[in-house]
């Protein structure tokens, strides 16, 4: 059953990762088992729950629906790559507004939220709720996730404004 292995190279969180994988290897298993990035979780086997969501070339995708070989050459962002010098606004928002309890769906929730805010910088509450349609969370009841996304958006605005001020000062 272990047919020929296929070489793939992905850029994950800015680092090139080259491995030889079975053609059937799911991206989520590549990330967890081959790249050792266990922050991305597996919550179902029918692509319903969204906890495995990552950004693939900037777009939110369920990494259980993509084969590693399909992602060959792609840029992947996982939860481990969100934080730069300080917490990503979405991470900060989730922390401040209690957007997580058990934390298991959180990686998927945060990457979904960051994709939403990258495409719709000022979503309405209803838009946020609809953007979470591909995500199942059993702990929070979703409302604190909505608040977390709203807070993340405020933080993004604040950081943009302060960056603008610094630019003007220079």
């Amino acid at each position: 059953m272990e047919e020929s292995l296929v070489p793939v190279t992905l850029t994950v969180n800015g680092k090139a990762i080259a491995r030889e994988v079975e053609p059937r290897t799911l991206l989520v298993h590549f990330l967890r088992d081959d790249a050792g990035l266990t922050g991305t979780h597996v919550g179902c086997d029918t692509s319903q729950c969204g906890v495995c969501t990552v950004l693939l070339n900037g777009e939110a995708v369920k990494s259980c629906t993509v084969l590693a070989v399909q992602a060959d050459g792609a840029d992947v962002l996982t939860i481990e790559g969100m934080e730069e010098e300080i917490l990503h606004p979405v991470q900060q928002g989730f922390w401040e507004k209690h957007g997580l309890q058990c934390g298991f769906c959180t990686p998927g929730a945060m990457l979904t939220a960051s994709y939403l805010l990258s495409t719709h910088p000022h979503p309405s509450e209803q838009e946020i709720r609809e953007s979470l349609d591909g995500l199942l969370c059993r702990c929070t009841g979703y409302e604190t996730i909505v608040r977390s996304v709203q807070r993340a958006q405020e933080i993004m605005d604040e950081r943009r404004e302060s960056a603008d001020r610094e630019t003007r000062a220079i």
Binding site: G103, F104, E130, G141
Partner: protein, 782 residues
């Protein structure tokens, strides 16, 4: 320093979880690790004729294939840990791997262990099992009928136990002015924690020790039960659960899977990992609820409820899971009078076995079922006597001056002000105005409804003496060690095992407040039997109530020792030393002080301790509660129903909960929200369905309707605070209130909306199709 208790501190556990650095069981990777995949029965009831593993064994990378016969003489039966007294309970022997009969679709018959999970799954598909299929039964009342297929050959009528409580109510019913009878189907639910279950076992041949990382709510109970099954003494068995991705009762039970991988790890002397798929989670991980209930209420014509009689058939599935027998009996039957001063009550429960997935605790565990039936019956009774359901509630709620209140089952409700919570909820909702609008809208062919749930529940499990009296095979106290380090930093060890509730933060707040330390100086350790001597875990909204109280007691021991050290240093008697906000001072001479940190350092240096004092500074306490705690409140749901489609829109949801003293309001609100969505999920969306062959028809998230973000409005929450008089912190527990209270509030609201159609009840979940069909059957809107 501002009070730490009562402040909305950001969670300590989030620091790792928002960075993807949590340690869930499936994240474990150990060199040399191999992977297990289970072979499960597709039949609900069948005799195993033969198991052929030859082909599977030939797959490259397969290390071993084991069947039920391999484990039969080496692994004990999976036990049941709750035996309700006077119920004539029969045990249901549950082999970890079935070897003669399979009793539900999902029962494991073999395990394949291979170098990778993919190979293990491939090879599991190649294990050939020959079955002789037999008829199955899935409904509990059908299963108890004569001639039903037997789940266990020696348990007649499939009745595992017959339990009764309360007082005789026959005379009250015979003389009553009004009797209302109704039957409810409390449907089966799938707990659906987002993290599937998993186990990793590692055998250390040098020390004969087994370490098992497992998704559990109660590592010490797991250790105790697995020790018996595996024949490994408790001091050689370590159970670890660091981050657990939600549980809701489904990770209380000790399952065959973790026992199988533990046995295999020792057999193969290799670390073995097993992680269930979501499909396995649906078919194997315990389900919740599933009762058929016959309920009667007797009362006067003017709204006084006099008696309630309940007869319930509880579906327990194919085997009695760890806590299963306690859920539909003690946690249900003893509180069917709810928050009402109903003088007479009786409950009778048949615990029935069927060819379905075992049923155990699911958020609320017994109390949602009790609350649902009494809250629905109050509405049906109100209708029967032609009174407003709010007015009937006001008449029958236990008055505030009646506490402690002894209910007909001799439970003592600790404290309450039910009218206070109701009044607060009515400040948030203009009830009379809603009724006026409802009338106007009905004239326009629009149907809105309002529903109440004025609930009480029992939690904070619980007094160990009571645990023993009701047949729970364990204690229900909790342990805490507060270890102060020489620099005044603190490690707290708790026997509770939080898995999302946030007690790493809540417990740090308790210690920070009591010892006067910054919360960031306190680390809370849980979920490891090698670090924590003993504990009973997290369920039954007990963690902060019981575990928190244990920490409070341990804090007092630390303070008293540190006070002696400070007094010695200050050269005064210890009675002359005050302690406030981390500072010991001489009473009346506030300038003479010793900091808590200085006292801690002195305790460890031991250069100059009071005569006879042992060095070091730590307190260990074991808190055994006097009573359960009884949170309560009023929930109000407002819905609109579209008669053309049967669609239900939740317009507003108001929840006023009294959970006693609130330690972290942000976390408490989070618990309530989560519970609400699960309770509303039961009312409107969720339901596990079997066909008559015992096949689960709702076996994935495609078929089982999980609540989503867009289904809900903003929740409106508020509190009243009635401290528990017997809990040292005054807390009552909040983990389950939302799930307990919300289901009947929603159904009451929908039935209120549908009243003009003459519809009085519909079985949950209230799907658009069911609602539309009911309206159509009554002649529709035309």
């Amino acid at each position: 320093m501002a009070d730490v208790i009562g402040s909305a501190l950001k969670r300590h556990e989030d620091i790792r979880l928002i960075r993807g650095k949590g340690q869930y069981t499936d994240d474990m990777k150990i060199p040399g690790m191999v992977y297990a995949s289970m072979v499960r029965s597709p039949y609900a009831h069948a005799r195993i004729v033969a198991v052929d593993t030859a082909e599977a064994r030939q797959v490259p990378g397969v290390q071993a294939v084991f069947t039920g016969r391999d484990l039969k003489d080496e692994v004990g039966m999976v036990p049941t840990a709750w035996i309700p007294p006077d119920s004539d309970m029969k045990m249901t022997p549950h082999p970890a791997l079935a070897y003669d009969l399979v009793r539900y679709a999902g029962d494991a018959v073999a395990v394949v262990i291979a170098d990778t999970p993919y190979i293990a799954q491939d090879a599991a598909d190649l294990v050939r099992v020959e079955y002789d299929a037999m008829p199955a039964v899935t409904n509990p009342r059908d299963a108890a009928k004569e001639g039903a297929p037997l789940v266990h050959e020696d348990i007649a009528g499939n009745v595992a136990f017959h339990w009764k409580a309360g007082v005789s109510v026959d005379e009250v019913f015979n003389k009553a002015e009004v009797v209302v009878r109704h039957e409810f189907r409390q449907q089966r639910l799938v707990p659906s924690a987002m993290e599937p279950r998993a186990a990793v076992a590692q055998w250390n041949a040098a020390t004969d020790e087994l370490t098992v990382w497992v998704t559990t709510q109660n590592p010490h109970i797991h250790r105790l039960l697995m020790s018996g099954m595996l024949g490994i003494p408790e001091h050689k068995l370590r159970v670890v659960a660091i981050d657990v991705g939600g549980a809701f009762g489904s990770k209380i039970a000790c399952y065959p899977d973790e026992v199988i991988v533990s046995w295999a790890a020792r057999k193969l002397n290799r670390p073995v990992k097993w992680t269930e798929t979501r499909s396995e989670n649906f078919t194997v991980t315990t389900h919740g609820r599933d009762h058929v209930e016959e309920v009667e209420v007797a009362g006067t014509k003017d709204g006084h409820i006099q008696a309630i009689r309940v007869k319930s058939y509880a579906n327990l599935g194919a085997y009695l899971s760890t806590a299963a027998p306690g859920v539909p009996t003690i946690l249900f039957g003893l509180i069917v009078n709810g928050a009402y001063a109903i003088p007479y009550a009786s409950a009778e429960v048949f615990g029935v076995l069927t060819h379905t997935t075992p049923v155990d605790a699911y958020r609320g565990a017994g109390r949602p079922e009790a609350t649902f039936l009494v809250e629905r019956m109050v509405d049906l009774y109100s209708e029967a006597v032609g009174m407003d359901p709010l007015a009937v509630r006001k008449i029958n709620l236990i008055p505030a001056d009646a506490f402690p209140y002894t209910n007909p089952f001799t439970l003592q409700y600790d404290s309450g002000n039910y009218q206070g919570a109701l009044a607060k909820a009515l400040e948030m909702v203009d009830y009379q105005q809603f009724r006026k609008e409802q009338d106007n809208l009905r004239k326009q062919g629009k149907y809105v409804g309002i529903g109440f749930s004025t609930y009480v529940e029992m939690c904070g499990l619980g007094p160990s003496e009571v645990a023993g009296a009701v047949g729970f095979q364990g204690g229900l106290w909790e342990s805490a060690t507060v270890r102060v380090h020489p620099t005044g930093k603190v490690t707290v060890f708790t026997g509770a095992s939080p898995h999302g509730q946030g007690e790493e933060t809540t417990f740090a707040q308790i210690v920070a407040q009591e010892l006067g330390l910054p919360p960031e100086d306190i680390e809370v350790v849980h979920g490891d039997t090698a670090k924590i001597a003993m504990g009973w875990g997290t369920y039954g909204s007990r963690t902060t109530v019981v575990g928190g109280a244990a920490i409070h007691m341990a804090d007092q021991k630390v303070i008293e020792k540190a006070r002696k050290i400070a007094a010695h240093k200050l050269e005064v008697g210890e009675d002359d030393v005050a302690f406030d906000q981390g500072l010991f001072s001489v009473k009346g001479l506030p300038a003479r002080t010793v900091t808590f940190q200085e006292a801690a350092l002195d305790a460890y240096l031991a250069w100059s301790l009071p005569k006879g004092m042992e060095p070091a500074l730590e307190g260990t306490a074991f808190y055994n509660p006097e009573n359960f705690t009884y949170p309560f409140g009023t929930h109000i749901a407002m819905v609109s129903v579209d008669p053309e489609t049967g669609d239900i829109e939740l317009m507003r949801y108001v929840a006023v909960d009294d959970v006693g003293v609130v330690i972290n309001p942000m976390l408490v609100e989070g618990q309530i929200h989560g519970g609400l969505v699960q309770g509303i999920g039961q009312a409107l969306y969720e339901g596990a369905e079997y066909d008559d062959q015992g096949q689960l028809l709702t076996g994935s998230f495609l078929d089982y309707a999980m609540p989503k973000a867009r289904f809900f409005p903003k929740f409106e929450t508020a509190h009243t605070v009635t401290p528990s008089p017997h809990n040292p912190l005054g807390v009552k527990g909040v983990g389950e209130t939302g799930a307990i209270a919300s289901t009947p509030a929603i159904v009451n609201a929908v039935m209120d909306a549908l009243a003009p159609f003459g519809i009085h009840d519909l079985p949950m979940p209230l799907t658009p199709r069911k609602v539309w069909q009911a309206i159509a059957a009554k002649g529709g809107t035309h």
